[in-house]
Amino acid sequence: MINGRRHVFEQPLHADVALVKAHLADRWGNLVYHSAARNFGPVMATAARLAVVQVSAFVELGSLDPEAVVTPGIFVDRVVVA
């Protein structure tokens, strides 16, 4: 019950590995996504023991706007440019 209304309780979802597609990454693993391809990427990166991210390009550390980073690098373990 929350505020007098019945809800279904869902257990948190964890993953051993998350495969995430993003747009750009830097050396610390900070990510920005492109357009509507953000999907569940930011959420699953936080919920996985190992987050592996495919990006279209790797950029210099410091070139992503710190206000616009969607997934901070702490949630990212591997980056693949493809």
């Binding site: 610390w28 936080t46 919920a47 992503l64 710190p66 980073v69 901070p72 690098g73 702490i74 949630f75």
Partner: protein, 214 residues
């Protein structure tokens, strides 16, 4: 004999590996950032919403909205990012922070930590993110003077102040010793020069064991 605050910070910094995500608590622990050995890249987290926090700005050049959890002006390193409090706490509670260094009023021999409230009614309690850090960080290091200013022990069989978290502390760095919390209780790994085991025990309410690091 007693280590200075800066010497304590330098001893803690030795144990922070290259590439770690680290949250430094308010007070003594913030000194650690100043003495990390050169060549180590440490990514500092602040629970108000910063990853990649840099040192204090030159006086007069700070941004009043770029501050750490202790409200002190800081800077952002290249690669840093800003986020809201919930994401900052996801990092802490979700086990993403490698190391936190926290101050303490008391540490229990089972690893209990009390660092947010005392029995002094004139001192308002202030917990900040300490509970979430203590439970969520992978490794919890405590940096504190060995005794209070009036000489009372801080390392106790059990804390008497309200707990921040139970059974979380991995290692305690004081101005006299480096002490691990183990299943057998406190095990002293290092002592400053000029103090005997008996003298250290006399300043500690919990029973101390002595042993080399396995």
């Amino acid at each position: 004999m007693n280590l200075s605050k800066r010497q304590m910070a330098a001893r803690v910094a030795q144990d922070i590996p290259d590439g770690s995500y680290v949250n430094l608590g308010i007070g003594l622990p913030t000194l650690v950032a100043d003495v990390v050995p050169p060549g180590r890249e440490i990514v500092y987290h602040s629970e108000n919403g910063i990853l990649g926090m840099g040192p204090a700005p030159e006086p007069g050049t700070g941004d009043p909205e770029l501050i750490n959890a202790g409200k002190q002006p800081v800077t952002l390193l290249p690669g840093g990012a800003y986020f809201h409090h919930t994401d900052a706490f996801v990092m802490m509670r979700g086990g993403h922070i490698d190391i936190t260094v926290l101050g303490a009023f008391q540490v229990g021999e089972g690893g209990d930590l009390a660092n947010w409230a005392t029995d002094d009614a004139t001192m308002p309690p202030a917990v900040g993110g300490a509970m979430d850090l203590a439970v969520g960080a992978r490794r919890v290091l405590v940096m504190t003077t060995h005794t209070t200013k009036d000489g009372r022990p801080k390392l106790l069989p059990a804390c008497t102040f309200p707990l921040t978290a139970a059974a979380v502390v991995d290692r305690v760095y004081t101005d006299l010793a480096v002490i691990d919390v183990t299943p057998d209780g406190f095990v002293v790994r290092e002592m400053v020069d000029g103090i005997t085991r008996e003298e250290l025990q006399a300043r500690t309410a919990a029973t101390l064991h002595f042993g080399v690091e396995p």
